[in-house]
């Protein structure tokens, strides 16, 4: 099966260039590989813990860079597939920002190792050069990125679904409408971050068991996100669950809903990113796209549920509420 990409891969070219620069920096410092050096630094820049092998730092840097590039590709593709018109995707700068940051710190770190004066300074000039340069280039590429409309981005005609739900309610059936939001980047993030944290826990196992237990718990907690967001609507409740164990984030009685409508938003501008988010107006749950359903409760509270099919979800909630639109 041929995978059709809606977001061109060349938009990630600045991140790939930065990654190659990062590899070149590591190659340049190859004489230091294998030696025991400080790996953890405090806010003052001084080493905090017992030294470790340089390989640990190198593997962590390379894996982190690849994880961020992978996440960025997945997020941007997901964004592009949902665009109903060309919109500037600020999330596309994620990989340039992250890989530039890693490259800048790699320069600073290996320079410090060369001088053997273990005082890590914040690498402002390199950050400006790598992050700044990469992001400027990424902004230009994102601006000129072509828009390939996806079929699913078109507004959906949900009349048939609304009639179907209406008929089921009228005939007294028990029914449930379910949706999931489980974008590929979430799986990449869960595996990438979870594996890194657990690897760090194993590393600390013999020296600092308390820290190892804590890290292991955090790593396993990350894996609980596996499976994404599950949304279900019945005649009585709208429920939002999270992850593998189905942790309940929201359970709202249909009778308590005052209004439900489709809502378009900017994940970064309105909420600062994806996930479980809050702003002054509402609590939001979303893992992909920029559309969802806004529920206003009778007590005035508002909730935003991210949805891949907001028209369908709105129609179903409205039918459950007894509003026929």
């Amino acid at each position: 099966m041929k995978l059709k990409l809606h977001h061109p891969l060349w938009v990630h070219l600045p991140a790939v260039i930065l990654f190659i620069i990062l590899l070149a920096i590591i190659w340049h410092a190859r004489a230091l590989l294998g030696s025991n050096v400080p790996l953890h630094f405090g806010i003052s820049g001084m080493p905090e813990k017992s030294p470790g092998s340089t390989w640990e730092a190198v593997v962590a840097i390379i894996v982190s860079a690849l994880v961020f590039i992978g996440i960025s590709i997945a997020v941007d593709e997901d964004w592009a597939r949902r665009e109903s018109r060309k919109t500037f995707n600020w999330m596309s700068l994620l990989d340039e920002c992250a890989v530039g940051f890693l490259a800048a710190f790699a320069v600073s770190y290996f320079s410090m190792l060369h001088t053997r004066i273990y005082d890590l300074t914040f690498p402002w000039p390199y950050l400006l050069a790598f992050c700044g340069g990469g992001m400027v280039l990424a902004v230009i590429l994102e601006y000129f990125r072509p828009w390939n409309p996806a079929e699913e981005a078109a507004l959906e005609n949900v009349q048939t679904l609304a009639e179907d739900v209406h008929a089921r309610i009228a005939s007294g059936q028990r029914w449930v409408y379910t949706e999931t939001q489980n974008p590929p980047w979430l799986s990449v993030l869960v595996i990438g971050v979870g594996a890194l944290v657990i690897a760090e826990a194993i590393d600390n196992w013999s020296t600092k068991p308390e820290m190892a237990y804590l890290l292991l718990a955090c790593g396993l907690a990350v894996f609980l996100l596996w499976g994404g967001l599950g949304i279900s609507v019945t005649a009585e409740y709208v429920t939002v669950r999270l992850g593998l164990v189905g942790m309940r984030l929201l359970r709202m009685k249909v009778a308590d809903i005052d209004d439900a409508c489709c809502h378009e938003f900017s994940p970064l501008r309105n909420f600062g990113g994806y996930g479980i988010r809050f702003n002054r107006e509402m609590t939001a749950f979303f893992f992909s796209g920029n559309r969802g359903v806004k529920l206003r409760a009778k007590n005035g509270r508002q909730f935003l549920i991210g949805s891949d099919h907001p028209e369908r979800l709105t129609a179903v909630v409205c039918e459950a509420m007894g509003i026929y639109r």
Binding site: L161, D164, V165, R168, S171, G172, Q173, R174, W175, V176, Y177, T178, E179, T180, N182, W226, G227, G230, S232, T234, T239, R241, L244, G246, D308, H309, R312, L313, V316
Partner: protein
């Protein structure tokens, strides 16, 4: 993925069979595609107000029929659609017995063979928009 599943207390069929039929119907209508995830067993059981084992049995039946795939730690996923028609034995097992029952029912309802055939044609035309040849 978005799916609508319902069960009816007035339906004489067992609940697990109703769920099986609903999932198949959603795939047939194009609401579910290969690779789409189905709700978890616990979610569906809780929302429909039925026992976990009932939903699990329905999913197992769907898996045995090759409609969905089940993997440990993952939600059930709609399997790839069959590329080739089923073998004669599978058709016999799934369809022929039930068709024979329906033919008998049609006889007792007073339908002639041609009237029964016409009814089947009408239903097929409704499902496939007249292009079921």
């Amino acid at each position: 993925m978005a799916v609508l599943i319902s069960i009816s207390a007035n339906d004489p069929r067992p609940i697990y069979l109703q769920i099986v039929t609903e999932v198949k119907e959603q795939i047939h209508r194009g609401n579910l595609h290969p690779g789409d995830e189905l709700p978890s067993v616990r979610d569906l059981a809780e929302n429909l107000g039925v026992n976990l084992h009932t939903v699990h049995r329905a999913y197992e039946k769907l898996r045995d029929q090759g409609v969905i795939s089940l993997r440990l730690g993952q939600r059930a996923k709609v399997a790839a659609l069959r590329q080739q028609p089923a073998s004669r034995e599978q058709v016999e097992e799934v369809l022929v017995t039930r068709l024979n029952e329906l033919i008998t029912e049609a006889f007792h309802l007073g339908l002639s063979a041609s009237a029964f055939r016409q009814l089947v044609d009408e239903l097929l035309a409704e499902k496939y928009g007249g292009s079921h040849q």
